[in-house]
């Protein structure tokens, strides 16, 4: 059975997945065979940005971080939309400028709301 052009273009995805798999296997395999392996206690500790880890890996974190994470997502999404807009600023013209300002103002309203609700204060 011959493949239609539509299906054949999906074949690229299959090749891509296969290539990614093979490359990763090659890199890990070569590194594993070449490098010396001398484990010690220090080396096997969990990496905690350079300081010695304290407590277990399953410790609970403050619920306050949750709010900051949410606010971070807000700005993150803002950036995702602003970058492509900034590259194409001239083609969008005044309409795009106004649109983006409306978008930013709406997000700022969210920040204002969070601020007034006392979310930003570290109690």
């Amino acid at each position: 059975m011959s493949l239609s052009g539509f299906h054949r273009s999906y074949l690229n995805v299959v090749w891509f997945i296969g290539a990614a798999f093979i490359i990763v296997c090659l890199m890990m395999g070569i590194a594993r065979t070449l490098r010396p392996s001398r484990p010690n206690r220090q080396k096997q500790m969990a990496y905690e940005s350079g300081v010695d880890p304290v407590g277990t890996g399953w410790s609970q974190s403050q619920v306050r971080y949750y709010f900051f994470a949410l606010l971070f997502v807000m700005f993150d999404v803002e950036a995702v939309f602003i970058f492509p807009w900034a590259i194409q600023l001239e083609t969008y013209g005044v309409f795009g400028l106004v649109e983006m300002f409306i978008f930013i103002i709406i997000l700022t309203l969210g920040l204002l709301y969070a601020w007034k609700k006392g979310v930003l204060r570290w109690v």
Binding site: E90, T91, Y92, G93, G96, I106, L109, L112, K116
Partner: protein
């Protein structure tokens, strides 16, 4: 360098926007932002009624503008907005009006509920208006992606609204269940949209319609798969069996007025999307989707009616009855005719007011704590609050389809459309299910009127006196008047539904 040059050569024209046609959306969305900011910047604190009145004013504004636009469209013809992203036709405006009415009545019901339950704030109104905007987008969407965005805006606001009762753990439970299953159903819908895009090369309803009419698609199997997956996604949202399991838990756990809003506005908006996509875009594929909708409709009326009987919680009973109503509305879609579509739309119009009124009565009878919802709590209601008992009985009779109420004409409309389409089996099943369903409504009415207290059984008296605030009385009154008025003189409402048929309009170049 070439790529950059190519990119900068692209001129992206700003779409022409007909601002007036979008006014209902602007009113609601600006109102919700302003309310959110005003409420945190000014110490409105205890003056919670101000929030409700403000929301009512916004809803009334959006409803009135929708009606004005409806007459404008009737006289000057429908059109597309924002380069074909939205359709402004009678169908969209019918649902815009309906959703605005639901927001209006729900705000009246929520007002005293917040005070009674000692809950804070403006957020529930903000979320309700955002949800309504999602509903408006969904009802007018002329593109599957826009439709999906509208549905998500509606759903995400509703997930949070379900959790608004901070003192009741069941409220949070309802929100989590609704969120998980809602997210699941959105994935189905999105996969269906992707399949349809794969089969037709477009997400725009008009272009999909053109491809189908010219029989141009090289991959019809994708379109059929897309239709099936989208049907599953919509069936979740409208709570049609076998995708109904979330509805009883969510309606029971959510704050009562929010359940009313979910059962009315959210269901109407989801049906608007379903009807528009299947009736206007895919009529040529009806041999593929009609049997599926037939099965859904039959299963939904039967499951809804029969499972409602065994419930002991009135809110749960009404959740199952709303499932069976979804089945009746699907019967109109199954007919795949102008009569069927207008029958479904009329049903949604009548049903919105019936169910809002019913949940309004339940809100009052639930009393502080919002948990006096057992059938026993209704025992002897007519002695303490005769008017409330009478009004609630009327809503229940209307849901059962008793003549001289809007419910009768609604049921008659969809069943006669099914008969005209020679779907006799579904018509007979629907009539039998309506008879079975009547039992459950009568049981509650009997409890309110005639049931004598047996020994130490719980009654209205032991649960405390029912408080009747003005706002809720006005809200329930509107629904009551509408239900009876349409029952006695249905012509104008039937014409309103008939003149609001959905259309596909070619996008102006």
């Amino acid at each position: 360098m070439n790529l950059l040059a190519a990119l900068t050569d692209v001129k992206i024209p700003a779409p022409e926007v007909q601002w007036f046609a979008l006014t209902p959306m602007f009113i609601l969305i600006v109102a919700s932002f302003v309310l959110m900011i005003l409420a945190v910047l000014t110490p409105m604190g205890q003056k919670k009624s101000a929030y409700a009145l403000y929301t009512c004013a916004a809803a009334a504004g959006s409803g009135v503008v929708s009606l004005v636009l409806w007459f404008d469209v009737k006289n000057h013809g429908p059109r597309t907005l924002i380069s074909g992203a939205l359709t402004l036709d009678g169908f969209a405006l019918f649902f815009w009006f309906l959703i605005s009415c639901a927001v209006f009545v729900s705000a009246l019901l929520i007002d005293d509920y917040l005070r009674r339950e000692d809950l804070n704030g403006c957020e529930i109104y903000v979320l309700m208006m955002s949800a309504a905007v999602g509903g408006l987008v969904l009802a007018a969407a002329n593109d599957l992606i826009v439709l999906f965005v509208g549905l998500e805006v509606l759903s995400i606001a509703l997930y949070v609204m379900a959790a608004m009762h901070a003192h009741r753990p069941t409220s949070q439970e309802a929100a989590i269940k609704y969120f998980v299953l809602g997210g699941f159903s959105s994935a189905f819908l999105l996969y269906g949209i992707a399949m349809t895009y794969g089969g037709t090369g477009s997400t725009n309803l008009v272009r999909i319609g053109t491809v189908l009419r010219d029989n141009f698609s090289k991959h019809p199997q994708f379109i059929v798969a897309g239709l099936a997956l989208m049907l599953v996604g919509f069936a979740f949202k409208i709570a049609a069996a076998p995708f109904h399991a979330w509805a009883p838990d969510v309606y029971q756990g959510s704050p009562s007025p929010v359940s009313g809003f979910m059962a009315s506005a959210a269901k109407a908006a989801a049906f608007a999307g379903l009807l528009r996509v299947y009736v206007t875009v895919f009529p040529t594929l009806s041999p593929d989707w009609r049997p599926a909708v037939w099965g859904l409709a039959v299963l939904t009326v039967v499951v809804g009616s029969f499972l409602a009987i065994v419930q002991t919680d009135v809110k749960r009973t009404l959740a199952y009855s709303s499932i069976s109503h979804a089945g009746f509305i699907l019967i109109g879609l199954q007919a795949n005719s102008a009569d069927g579509t207008s029958g479904s739309m009329f049903y949604l119009l009548a049903y919105t007011f019936m169910v809002l009124g019913s949940f309004g009565c339940i809100t009052l009878i639930g009393r502080t704590g919002d948990d006096a919802h057992s059938v026993d709590d209704y025992r002897g209601l007519s002695k303490q609050r005769p008017v409330l008992a009478f009004v609630f009985s009327v809503f229940l009779f209307a849901q059962a389809g008793v003549p001289l109420t809007s419910g009768f004409i609604a049921k008659f409309g969809v069943i006669s459309a099914a008969v005209k389409g020679h779907s006799y089996a579904v018509a007979i099943v629907a009539m039998l299910a309506a008879v079975v369903g009547a039992f459950l409504y009568l049981r509650i009415v009997v409890m309110m009127y005639v049931a004598e207290t047996e020994g130490e059984a719980r009654t209205v008296e032991t649960a405390g006196r029912i408080h009747m605030p003005y706002g809720a009385v006005v809200g329930i009154g509107i629904c009551f008047v509408f239900t009876l008025a349409v029952g006695f003189a249905p012509d104008w409402a039937l014409n309103f539904a008939r003149d609001s048929a959905p259309v596909l309009i070619a996008i102006p170049k």
